[in-house]
Each structure stands twice: as C-alpha cells, then as structure tokens.
C-alpha cells in the first residue's frame, strides 16, 4: 500500500519547490471541500497533498488602490463578511456564498472552486464577469492570467505541474458599475447549478450601458463568456429589445449536457431567463450608484 504524503510549505517558493520535485501525482489543497471528497471516494489517488494554508497571505482580503486581492485559500465565509468587497463586487460575493452549506463556507475557497474545474462552479462565472485575474506562482516565477484561461474542461486546468494560484485580483470599480450572479437549482439551498449567470455592467449618467460582461455556467464544459450577450446590452438601457437580444445570445452560447438536473432543452431555455434576471439586478445595483 502506498503512503500518502503531506507537505505544508510556509512560503510560495517552498510550495513551488515541493510541487516541482514531487514524484507521482501532487494535489494542491486549499479548503479541501472538493479534494477530500474525491480523496475519500478514491476518485483521485494522489501521492502527495500540498497544503497551501501555511503560506502567509494565502488567506485574507486586501485592497490595493481600489482593487481587491483575495488570497487563494480565503474561505467563502470570510469573503461574505467583508463589507467593502460586498459593496464593490456583490455578484462575486453572492456567487461565492452560494457554494455549499455554512460548514462548507467555513473552508471552501475561490482557488478550489476554480481548480476543481466543475462546469457548474458558482464563483467562476461571477469572477470572469468581473474580469478577475489569478496570480499564479510556478517554477518560472509568478504570472497573472485571466480567470477564464484556467479551466479547460471538466476537472482539467491549464495550470502546469509546478504552478498554483496564490490570489485573485478584482479590478478597481468604475463609477456606476455593478455585478450580479444568479443560479437556478431545483431546491432552495445546497445544490449544484443547472444554470448560472454572472453579469457585470457599467452605465453612463443617463443609464445607458457602456460596458458589459455576460458569463454562463453549467451549460458547457467550462464557464462561457458570451460577447454577443454583452453586445446586446452595450449602447442601450435595459429595454425589451436589449433583454430579448441578451436572451437569444445566452441561449446561443449554450452547449449543455442532459443530466438528472436538467435536459439540454431546459438548460438552454433557463440560461436565457437567468441572464435576463441577473442583468436586471446588475443594472439596478449600478443605477443605485449614480
């Protein structure tokens, strides 16, 4: 029987060294709410667990010139309790807080939600809509990459063996801009998204949309950025024409699967509805900021 190794490096450099030098399969541990389930069920059989939580700054939130830097392993509950972050990025925070129960929120992290690479990850569409980036450490130094470049398919990421995410950066908020995330689940709580929609908008003083990002979750192998959805919103107020065009664009971007939570047809229809409703919330929030 092989032995599972465990390392808890206390610096980024040590963590990279451990990951680069690992023989066999190494798994990066943040909150562990997905990793432990997979470990216990035997779905993954790593040789080494690299726990990042002893690295200073890996958990916690700081502001840098109006931008927010969220440590990769910061628990969802901590993100939800951060008043300034909630004010600036309500969509990112509500998406993060939808993950699991109170207990899961005590551990679950953005890095885990992203790197677990579930198509239905709730925080991911909201992060992409927010133009969030990941700060990634690796053997060749640190790099910054957009969140949408990380997940390549269910359970797969573009991170190299020696790389791990150390933080997420949410850009400085522009005036009259806000985001929202909505998901549809068959229950009221504690379920996996049938469809998720993250929308981020900026309005001008007259309420016309000048910038938008539309992102859908759970309707394709990865979260999908929908530029046609953004185009439907930009240059308009949230009138019926814009909403109808957004609905069409959202449906057009879906490549879902049939499963017990929803059929292909149902997911496509609901994607349009969720996009419209999330857009309405984002607009209302942005409008209140005038």
């Amino acid at each position: 029987m092989r032995t599972l190794g465990y390392a808890a490096p206390s610096t980024v450099e040590d963590a990279v060294r451990v990951l680069s030098g690992a023989s066999g399969v190494a798994k990066v541990l943040s909150g562990g709410t997905d990793l432990l389930v997979q470990l216990r069920s035997g779905r993954i059989k790593p040789d080494l667990i690299v726990d990042t939580k002893k690295i200073p700054g890996i958990s916690g939130i700081r502001e840098e010139d109006g931008a927010f830097v969220i440590g990769a392993a910061t628990p969802g509950a901590v993100i939800g309790e951060h008043a300034a972050l909630r004010q600036a990025w309500p969509g990112v925070v509500e998406a993060t807080n939808l993950i699991g129960s109170t207990q899961v929120q005590g551990r679950a992290s953005l890095a885990g939600n992203l790197c677990n690479a579930s198509p239905a990850a709730d925080s991911v569409p909201a992060l992409i809509a927010a133009r969030a980036t990941c700060l990634i450490a690796g053997a060749s130094g640190q790099r910054e990459a957009p969140v949408e470049s990380i997940t390549t398919g269910p359970g797969r990421t573009s991170l190299k063996r020696d790389e791990f995410i150390i933080a997420f950066r949410l850009p400085k908020r522009t005036p009259r801009s806000a985001d929202a995330y909505l998901r549809f689940i068959p229950r009221t709580e504690m379920d996996i998204a049938v469809v998720g929609a993250g929308i981020n908008v900026t309005l001008d003083a007259s309420g016309v949309c000048t910038d938008a990002r539309v992102v859908l979750g759970a309707v394709a192998p990865t979260a999908v950025l929908v530029p046609e959805g953004a185009a439907a919103l930009i240059g308009r107020t949230l009138d019926d024409t814009a909403l109808a065009a957004l609905d069409r664009a959202a449906r057009g971007a879906c490549k879902p699967i049939d499963d017990k939570r929803g059929t292909i047809e149902y997911r496509i229809k609901v994607a349009g509805v969720m996009a419209r409703r999330a857009a309405a919330i984002a607009y209302a929030r942005a409008g209140e900021r005038q």
Partner: protein, 158 residues
C-alpha cells in the same frame, strides 16, 4: 507508514496526536481521541453530523485532514456542557424533544451554537438557512428550529 505529529487545542485542552496524512479530523477525533460525539454520516460534507468549530468557524470535520488541525483550536460537542450543566441549546433540545434517533444532534448543536454566537436573535428563516447543512431524517426539523429559537430567547434574557 510515516505519521505526522499534530499539536492542537481541543475544547480548550492542549492536545497532541499522531496521524497518517489521509485521516480526517473526524477520524482522529473519534478513533484516536475517543471524542465520539461528532458523528460520521455521509463523509462528503453533505450531512453536517461531524460539525465542529475550527478557530471559531463552523466546518465539517470529515472535510478536513487531521494534519490540517496543526496549530488550530478545535471545539466539539463535548465542550458544550460544563460538567452536569448543559448548554441552553442542549436543555432546549431535551425540552422540545428536538431529537429522535439523535445521530444528527451533536452536529446540529454545534452549528446552532455557532449561529447564536454571531446572531443572538435569528429569524426562523435565518436559522433554517444556517442549519441547511445539517440533515435530520427523523424530526422534520420543526422541533429543532423551535428549540434553537427558544434557546436564543433564553440566552438573550440572561
């Protein structure tokens, strides 16, 4: 098999143990430290029967490796009563008969205590959402919620 030496605090007591990397905190609490109040229900973070506090945060001890406890303060259901003095939540659970088989009860108590520590006056909706990660297959939840809200009322008065 190499074992890890872990130094932690459990219910206020400095506690050390040796464990293999794959063991969860729940495994060690129950099998090594004989704190069998925390229960193993689903082992996947869905049922909440293994709920404990880690540095004041409610977590599932089945979703945490025991080695991750190094340097942290753990509180379990065993720390709720002081000798024969039950915690108000424990008393109210008895008064309201808020349990039948009792398997979920330790987890519900730990989770409810965490709720009342941060929100001494929760609405029924708030209590139900907070406890959504604690599954009970006997009571239908109604008596649990009544016991929690009654305990909250009593704790606010004292």
């Amino acid at each position: 098999m190499s074992k890890h030496h872990v130094t932690t605090t459990i219910n206020g007591e400095p506690t050390e143990f040796l464990c293999e990397a794959q063991l969860t905190l729940l495994d060690v609490l129950r099998d090594e430290l004989r704190l069998t109040g925390s229960k193993e229900g689903c082992s996947s973070g869905d049922c909440g029967a293994c709920s404990v506090m880690v540095d004041g945060r409610l977590v599932c001890s089945c979703l945490m490796l025991a080695v991750e406890a190094e340097g942290h303060a753990i509180e379990t259901v065993e720390g709720m009563a002081h000798g024969h003095d039950l915690h108000p939540l424990q008393r109210k659970f008895l008064e309201h008969a808020a349990l039948q088989c009792g398997f979920c009860t330790p987890g519900v108590l730990v989770a409810a205590k965490a709720l009342l520590e941060r929100n001494p006056d929760p609405t029924e909706t708030e209590a139900r959402y907070w406890l959504a990660g604690n599954l009970c297959r006997c009571t239908g939840y109604d008596k649990i919620i009544r016991a929690v809200l009654d305990a909250a009322t009593e704790m606010r008065a004292t």
